[in-house]
Subunit: 656 residues, 2 copies
Amino acid sequence: MTNTQEQNDLANAIRSLAMDAVEKANSGHPGLPMGCADIATVLFTKVMKFDPADPHWPDRDRFILSAGHGSMLLYSSLYLLGYEDMTIDEIKNFRQLNHKTAGHPEYGHATGIETTTGPLGQGLANSVGFAVAEAKLAAEFGSDLVDHHTWVLAGDGCLMEGVSQEAISLAGHLRLNKLTVIWDNNSITIDGAVSNADSTDQVARFKAVGWHTIEIDGHDQAAVEAALLEAKQADRPTLIAARTTIGYGAPKKAGTEKVHGNPLGAEELAAAKENLGITYPAFEIPTETLAKWRAAGTRSQNLRGEWQARLAASSKKAEFERRMAGTLPEGFAAAMDAHKKKLAEDKPKVATRKSSQMALEVINKVVPETVAGSADLTHSNLTNTPETLPFTASDRTGRYMMYGIREHEMAAAMNGIALHGGYIPYGGTFLVFTDYARPSIRLSAIMGQRVVYVMTHDSIGLGEDGPTHQPVEHLTALRAIPGMTVFRPADAMETAECWQLALEHQGPSILALSRQNLPAVRTEYTAENKSALGAYTLAGAADADVVIFATGSEVAIAVDGMKLLNDQGISARVVSVPSMELFARQSDAYRAEVFGKARARVAIEAGIEMSWGKFLGEKGRFVGMHSFGASGPIADLYEHFGLTPKAVVEAATAQL
Amino acid sequence: MTNTQEQNDLANAIRSLAMDAVEKANSGHPGLPMGCADIATVLFTKVMKFDPADPHWPDRDRFILSAGHGSMLLYSSLYLLGYEDMTIDEIKNFRQLNHKTAGHPEYGHATGIETTTGPLGQGLANSVGFAVAEAKLAAEFGSDLVDHHTWVLAGDGCLMEGVSQEAISLAGHLRLNKLTVIWDNNSITIDGAVSNADSTDQVARFKAVGWHTIEIDGHDQAAVEAALLEAKQADRPTLIAARTTIGYGAPKKAGTEKVHGNPLGAEELAAAKENLGITYPAFEIPTETLAKWRAAGTRSQNLRGEWQARLAASSKKAEFERRMAGTLPEGFAAAMDAHKKKLAEDKPKVATRKSSQMALEVINKVVPETVAGSADLTHSNLTNTPETLPFTASDRTGRYMMYGIREHEMAAAMNGIALHGGYIPYGGTFLVFTDYARPSIRLSAIMGQRVVYVMTHDSIGLGEDGPTHQPVEHLTALRAIPGMTVFRPADAMETAECWQLALEHQGPSILALSRQNLPAVRTEYTAENKSALGAYTLAGAADADVVIFATGSEVAIAVDGMKLLNDQGISARVVSVPSMELFARQSDAYRAEVFGKARARVAIEAGIEMSWGKFLGEKGRFVGMHSFGASGPIADLYEHFGLTPKAVVEAATAQL
């Protein structure tokens, strides 16, 4: 510990704001900001490239607070650095409704928050995506436009979560040298000593996946600076294991779990300030200290000016700006329209996973910003096209991420890629394995990121792999996530439309796609994107007595059921429901029209009933799954579980 | 490779059955059984302790095929060893409906299948629970009754999944020396070479978490045997890194991804058999080879006989048998009844997480088989009681698992503990983090295991931690899982009843519990467990015009809403719904009674509406969440999101 008074003053500014804000809120986590204040001080005032005057500067370094509970570390730093929207009033209103200073950092609440964190491990897992996007963008646009670093601060909790292994093994494999993880090695978790629950040699663990590692005293600012600069030069991702004291400065509680997630209390707070030499009132940083922080905030203004000049002079300016703005290229809509015309001619009878690949063959040609990938199921998910050569340690131009058997990291990395900007990530696995990725899928939705989940093998229709591989509850569980759009297209035409919608809208999408071949049910070209309606009448008369709702692979069964009903002299109509969420956004009049005057309502879907309440009302009947699936050939399974035209007929006639 | 002809014959019996079964099914994974046949031969014929004549023998070694897609390795071995229910007819009907030989091993389908596997990493993660249960049971009943080993066969996919890190770091920390993982190190995944997606030094990785490691040629049966015997003697868990060739024996496809998940095809199959020296017809193992396998199956009969004699002579016989049968101790029901009487007197106003701890203080005293735990949130989840000292590397008598920040492994380990038998596991985290554990939670349900998830901080009621920590969709997403029972008790009385139900029934349960204090709404003692009805009238007249359904923390709000309606001269009734699943199992008559003749139906729950369809019907109104939550004090949030008595009144009057 050889810090100068000035170094301590700068760090104590973070500590005092954090202690005061948590105390005022009577809620929050002072331990990490106090323990990591030296690290943050060096990182923000000496090493990182950014400019509070242009917080969205594309070539800024990114900082990710993976240990999101330490949010006051970030908020304090942003205020001290001079981010305009992070006022002292926001700091004072930490954890209050309608303020930017939420309990955990929320993306979009304030500038300088690069990603939403809090669920442990997620920031670290995101960061891999940030670093991938940087490397790809640099390969595409040159290092004169793209050359920045991703810095992560992670705690023991982040490193214990399984997703951390997926993240660091992928980052090590891809040699993401511009990624640095600083581990707040404070030996404390909520339940007490880390040694109660873990004995991992973290440095050895990171070495085993190809990382450069550095061990330092996290309170020695000179050591921190040297480590950060060494990390910037590494040819691999770097772990800086920084030994710290949680709640540094608190005389009684420092180094214990007591300071992790509770206010210090008036007495300990006063004693901590005295201990640290903080003599100024709550929330009032001395002018001189604040001025030094603010000056540090302007460090990169010149760099940004030079960068802007380079961009202005670049032949790639327009494309770079389009990519960072996230606007789709001209020609995209026309290409999709042409594809729809071709489908109307060809009427292909293929699995919707194949339909998805056919759509991607159009998309990847005209949309250079897609970043494809799969969690080791490429030839099942059909997420590849001729354009998607692999992104590797030696070739950053590749557009295909070989995520490995890491569904969770795939989703987290896609969030990072989308958040970084410049790319639209999509990735595949089996629908049932959305369970593995759910924490990151939820964050796609919370952050409203354009991430496309290509989830194939979407029902018992996958056949012999059996119940562990057959999604039953997953459509419901995914529709349940606020802000998520779940698409289940019925054929190649709907798949094309759903892909277009997924790329055109600004939140995450799930495409649930069949393993099995499906007949074309939309055989005519329409300029209108019918799937955008969420639900629409596919066949039958508007005044039919029976309305049959169906999605995906069950739409063709519904049509067969309709024909059987017609044979019995009962008028019926089939409504395809590619997206419940889009349907919910339609006008009351349109929705009433879709329901029509039918006396009987049936819904058929190879999943559970739960999400169909609004469609079925009181008397409607559901034909679907009521249990887990089973292992067997698809035809046997559909018969066994009663997903048949006959069952549709029985459900309808029982009501009439 | 110095295998004898006999060794090869034994291994080729597995290979031939696997090739033939996959070929006949025209579906499945021949690569692993062919590649791991030497390992399985040694493990089953030389090392493992088990007896096909008593497949449930409590002191048997457990074998877990974590790479569940290689199911034919297990089925072939079980048939060859003489497990009676694994007939050649079952082998011939691999992957067919209503047969025991599902695509992936399904627990309960055939004896010898210790756990359901297929979702990668799960078997490995389970195995930690098996080893914990063994160590605890040995500490409790002595090594003369309990002394067995847990063997896991895992592939690259298992090791790439994040949950594997949680599993191995916990196992290493706990020094579970009777756990051995054999890694089928074949360098191939579905998308091709492992090196496409991963560069992990697995041996170094396992060493970093405290494992003993051995590296061998997995086709050298002598080397395999030496390694397995060495592992049995280790003082730590052991990784055996066994270099193998996937699809060993197939002349063109061995060593490639082509043999992973597809039938060989007639030509390659014939060539493989020729290559391996297999001259017998499909499904017809030569008598001599089969006889050797069957003899190996009887190896441990004497050991079992001796064990039975020791059990018969043991003073602990009755308790051991009760524990392995899973019957609750006498006195449990009476203790819970007494607790309910006390609650009726005390009428405590506490959070339901605290109510849960109060119930546990009764339960853990009279039910010695509970194994408590938390994913590093003990003092938030309140899963501890005076009885629950930690289970550690040096003290196997402990009843508290310090799972660390490993929600996924906690769930997987609990599955393993329950499957092993002798214990009832329960474990805590925040409800929102069920997302992290969902693949294992689903397996609890598929396997119908008695695992109790103590999920606290169950809504926006947790306040300041904000949207990343506030469950909104989780009640729906969990209710969606077939076979899961979700409890959301309203006060201490219901919490006691729900705990009793969770322990008395044979599947998994989720207890969704509040962070915030709640008033007692059930203030009278009833001998009947009202929560067992799933839903019941808590207050108001049977013929009320308005029925208000509510769960958990919203029941008290519903009661306040009812009173406001009464003040306006509108008769209303409150139905508490501690479990939708239990309500669905009641008689039509009872359910009709609960709905009554109300002209208006309202449901209030601090989650989304999706699971309420059956309660609300066409016209009912829902008061709840329609978005993610926010960071702020609880009172502000309930007001902001409109979860108030006034909102209940408005919803009711709008309908009337």
